[in-house]
Each structure stands twice: as C-alpha cells, then as structure tokens.
Amino acid sequence: MIENLDMLLNGTLETLYMSLTSVVFAYLLGLPLGVLVVSTAPHGIHPSRRLHTILGWIIDIGRSIPFIILIVDLFPLTRAIVGKIIGPTAAVVPLVVAATPFVARMVETSLEEVDQGVVEAARTMGATGWEIICKVLLPESVPSLLRGMSITTITLIGYSAMAGAIGSGGLGDIAIRYGMHRYDGAMMNITLVLIIVIVAVIQLGFNRTAARVDRRLR
C-alpha cells in the first residue's frame, strides 16, 4: 500500500512536471508564432499574405498529426535533444511540438479579440508595429491569454497521459500499466481521480487569476 502511495505521488509529480514544463516551452515558441500570424494577417500590423499562409499551413499540419503518432515520429529528435526516448523529460519534446501550434492558434484568437478601433487609435498616435504589439495587443488580451493558457495546460495533461502508452511515466503511465495491462480497476480509477483533481485545481486557479486581472469586469 505504502509502495503504491509512493508510486502515485511520484506519478502525480511526473505528470505536473511534464505538462508544466511543456506549457512553458510551448509558450516560448507559440506566443511569438501567434503574434507573427496576427501581424501578417491581411488586416494586421504588417500584412504579408505569403508568410501568413505558410505559417497557417505549418500550424495546421502540426495540429493534424495524432499525438500518439507524433511521439513515435519524433523519436530521433527526442533522442537527439534528451538522449533517450522514455521517461518524463523525453515526453516533453513531443508535448512541446504538439502544443506549440495549438498555443499559436490560442494566442491568435486572443489577440484578434482586441478591438480594432483601439489599434487604430494607437496608430493615429504614431505607435509603431512593435509598440502596438507590446503596448496594445498583448496587455489588452492578458485575461484572454490566461484563459487560453488554462485550456492548453489541461490539454497537455491529457496528452501527457497518452504519452504514458510509450513509457513516459506520470499518472497516465500508471493507469495504462495497472488498468489496461493488469486489469487493476481500482488503481486505474485512483489515477483518474487524481487527474480530475489536478485539472480542477488548474482550471480554478486560471479562472480566478483571469478574473482578477481583467479590468473590464468592474
């Protein structure tokens, strides 16, 4: 029993480690990508049909590949970066690759929500494209970006469980090994409850933060 508790605690920490690390890297890559997509759009700050289309393709292709196949496809890359293909750190590589285009689309949606009139106002005041991004688009969409981040984080927890199928560690791994391979229903359900709790806490945290920083609600 103590052994199992230890394993579950470890699994929880691994799941958190995998998903949170991936969120950080996915935003480091996806945020600039999303900003670039918005900026190059036909009505954007710096329209470029060619770049906009190419970026759109890359993002859509990235989002089309089923995650479980992406993991296998990325084995060479994972090995090159991490040095191995199993374990939580190795799982971060496909997680980041899968989440980056997802984040880019989330960021795009958030920035598109900013009132075009506000952008025009900034332009009449002589704001440059860069200033519009840093002083208008990003700050104005912080609450929306945070909500997008909660969706990304929760999606990544789901993906990290899928990575359990190829031995990533974490709660998904435990669920598959005990539930699927050993028919241990109790163990599987415990991991399920743990994942539900993690998701609920993350959702609540993001919702509260987004509501607190949003100045439109008062």
Binding site: G117, T124, G126, A127, E140
Partner: protein, 244 residues
C-alpha cells in the same frame, strides 16, 4: 490650415464603391468645422483619410502646406503628434487606468517621467476627471470615457483635433457637456477642430463652418449661419428639415 484637394477614395470590394468623389475642403486655423451628412455619405471615410488610417485613391491633403501622404519616418511621426483623433467608440485601452490611457501617447515619444506626470495632471484637470485618475475605463460613464479620449488626443499638444461622431453614442445632456469642452479647448488652446457628425444640433451649437456631404461629395459648404439660413443644396435642405 487643412487643405483637401480633389480627394477621391474608391473601395474595390465585390463591386466598386466610390466612398469619396472629388472632395475639396479648406479648414482654417482656429475653425470648428462640422462635416455633416447622412449615414454612408462618406464622412467617416473623409476623416479616416485625414487621420491617415486610409490612403485616398486620388487627390491630396495638405496640412500647413505639407502633403501628408508624402511624409515618412520622423516627419510623419511629427505630423501625427500635431493631430489628435477622437472616436465615437472612445477606443480606450481597457486594461489601463485613466491616468495610463492619457499617458499613452506621451509614453510613445518617451516623455521623461516628471514631465509626463505634470502633463497628465494638467489634462485630467482640463477634462475634469482628476479624481478618476486611478480608475479603469469600464468604471466610467460614456461621457467620462469620451473626456478621457479627448484628454488623450490632446496630450501631444496637437494643432488639430479630428472628432469622428464624438457624441453620437451619448445622451443629449452629456452631448452638450462634451461640446462645451470642445469649444473651451478651441477657445483657450486655439486648437482647430474638425467634427464629423450626423446631428444638426452639434453643428448649430459649436461649428463656425459647415460642410454638407452627400454621396461622397461636398454638396455645400460655408459659414454655419449662412448655410443654415439659406441652404442651397438638396442635402442641406433635407438635413435642416429633419431637425424640426
């Protein structure tokens, strides 16, 4: 002085739209000039051309003898500072305080902190919102938000204030107070004001000159009292008629 010469603007959407056709208009320094017309007459397009949010298809706009569409880089930025724009929908930054909204154009030109604080303080006082400095736009009424927008537009000490339907979303009482503020700004600061509106009352109460725009062309222009006393064009007659 703003001189608009032979200005035309076409939009190529599904079918060609002639938003402006051969518009000629001169606004002298110190004027409060009203541009009045029905919805879709092209008045907003005209203002968007003057504020350089649209590029005209033909013609030119000169401010103090300089063609605004030929300017680049520093000169363009300098010109933008000489023009303040006020919008119907206020277009304030919703996540910034009132203070920070007014400071925004000053931040863009890297105004030193002390000077910025002093200037924002003056502007807050001018529009009567000193006590609201640390509030957010969502906490203010429409009239108060428009005051913030006016203060923001004045931050860079512009010579010209372009107002696009500044009172169209406001009730009559608030409209009057905003118009009074604009008049005060015109008189005390000597700012030339160009107002786009569909309300005849706005023109009557503060504009010394008026241009009536219809189907993308100026139908009539002149001193307000003259145009109102003796309208020549069908468009002007119609507008004056609906007021009663």
């Amino acid at each position: 002085m703003i001189e608009i010469k032979n200005l035309s603007k076409h939009f190529d959407s599904a079918s060609r739209v002639d938003a402006l056709q051969n518009v000629n208009l001169t606004v002298e320094d110190g004027d409060i000039c009203g541009i009045i017309g029905m919805s879709g007459a092209g008045k907003s397009t005209l203002l968007r051309c003057i504020s350089m949010l649209e590029t005209p298809t033909e013609g030119s706009i000169e401010i103090d003898g300089k063609d605004i569409f030929s300017l680049k880089g520093r000169e363009l930025l300098e010109l933008r500072r000489q023009m303040g724009v006020v919008f119907q929908g206020y277009n304030l930054l919703m996540q910034r305080t009132i203070y920070k909204n007014i400071a925004f154009p000053l931040e863009l030109v890297k105004t030193p902190k002390q000077e910025l604080e002093k200037r924002v303080g003056e502007l807050l006082e001018l529009v009567g919102l000193s006590d609201k400095a640390q509030m957010y736009p969502a906490q203010l009424s429409g009239g108060q938000r428009q005051r913030v927008a006016i203060a923001r537009a004045l931050a860079s000490n512009p010579k010209v204030l372009l107002c696009d339907e500044p009172t169209s979303a406001l009730d009559p009482l608030t409209t009057r107070s905003i118009l009074k503020l604009l008049q005060q700004i015109n008189r005390t600061l000597g700012v030339t004001i160009l107002i786009i509106t569909h309300e005849i009352g706005v023109v009557r109460s503060i504009c010394n000159r008026v241009a009536v725009i219809e189907a993308g062309s100026i139908a009539e222009q002149g001193k307000t009292e003259q145009v109102f006393a003796n309208p020549q064009s069908q468009a002007a007659k119609q507008l004056l008629d609906t007021a009663f």
